[in-house]
Amino acid sequence: MAFTITCPVCGIRRGYEFRFGGEDKGPMPPEESLASETWCEYVHMNNCIAGIQKEWWFHRDGCGSWFTIYRDTTTNQQVENR
């Protein structure tokens, strides 16, 4: 089945219109007295869940919104926001 993503502005669109923006890792750590390890955790480290994960997408070829969705990485299907 085709891979689609629901944009909060444009609705259901083809997956190829979007750019993946990374796993959702919460807010950026504060820059003040930021340890190298903390920054590395935030920038590079991933959970790589084989299953449902919360992640960022950018509607590159559309409205330009950044938003999070839940997607099953084993099927590429977006699932209901929880």
């Binding site: 590395c40 590079h44 790589c48 869940i49 084993t74």
Partner: protein, 412 residues
Amino acid sequence: MRLKSNSNINGRLWGWDPPLKSSYDAVIIGGGLHGLATAYFLARHHGMSRVAVIEKRYIGFGGSGRNTAIVRANQRTQENLPLYKEALEMWPVLTRELDFNLMFYNCGNLNLAHSEAALKAMRLQVASAQIYGIQSQLVDPEQCKTLIPALDISDRPRYPIYGGMYHPPGGIVRHDAVVWGLAKGAARKGIHIHQGTEVTGIGVKNQKIVSVETDKGKINTSRVLNAAGGYSAALSYQMLGIRLPISVLTIQAMVTQPLKPLLNHVVSSGAYHCYANQTLKGEIATGAHMDPWPNYTNQSTARYIKHQAEAVTEFLPCLKGVKFMRIWGGLADMTPDMAPIIYGNDPIKGYYIDCGWGYFGFKSCLVTGKYMAKFMADGTCPNILKPFTLRRFEQHRLMGETAAVVNYSPDN
């Protein structure tokens, strides 16, 4: 896709099905090429044969049997070059040692440049390889045409050929044969290969590995190697809480119907995101596209079939009208710097990792297995593996290997 443990593939390859013992000196998670090679060298070089290879599906199910079988040593950075050089030299040696025809065909690799900038980048890559005694040279479009007469070096393609980088010692190896040869060789030395067995947990006490839990029972061990390929990062996080700088993408490849010989070198093009070689059966094997978002689907996509047909027929127009026979996907564990993570004993003593190979896992399997076995046997990291530490990411010492290949990842 589980094999019964009494499946006769074991019978044909190594004669018997070993029982799962309650204790091993080392447990290797993943019956792919890196896991099997490490097991083989543990037994061959270090006298460690009380070793289990635990494979959830069957040996070679993952990237080991899904890659496009290309081998080469013309990487870009000083950390990577010695490793790949030795890797390339090991194919003929292992063919004899395993008494198994790995079908190493050193037909040479031609990498095409389609701009002045690409040619400049190749100049650096060629010079770096030559410093390490690796045969690599720049060639002009006419020389490209001499090497591969089917190439279109005219101004017709959207990205005309400006030149190339020719690497004579590279080529292709039959990847299934390597899986079977290593499995047979390891089993002959007493290694237990357990197919259809899933690791469900890893036991840690006082920051030391004590056991591995499987769906067939618990194994006591002080050493475990995570060589689970595409699943290595998920496994590391879920079972030990250790996150890795990896994104897992499905990489796709395909083969055409068999043709008479026309392509006697591996040809690749960064600009077209495409590489191709003719297998010994006559098929043109070509790849490799990735949909740039992490997934574990192994899916192939219609979008890619079209892209691949367009790309490969731009520089090899004689392939127009040829039909694709098969398309498949495999999981690639990509790191931000396109170099692997080979690490151990930190933060958990006895926990070793060999992953993050992206699309370089096939060509590197023998040499990594050799040195990883040494690492696991005596507990100290061999110098050749030291640059691939997991700690390089927090030290901001990422390697410059990204420039050596088509740069796909969810990060760009």
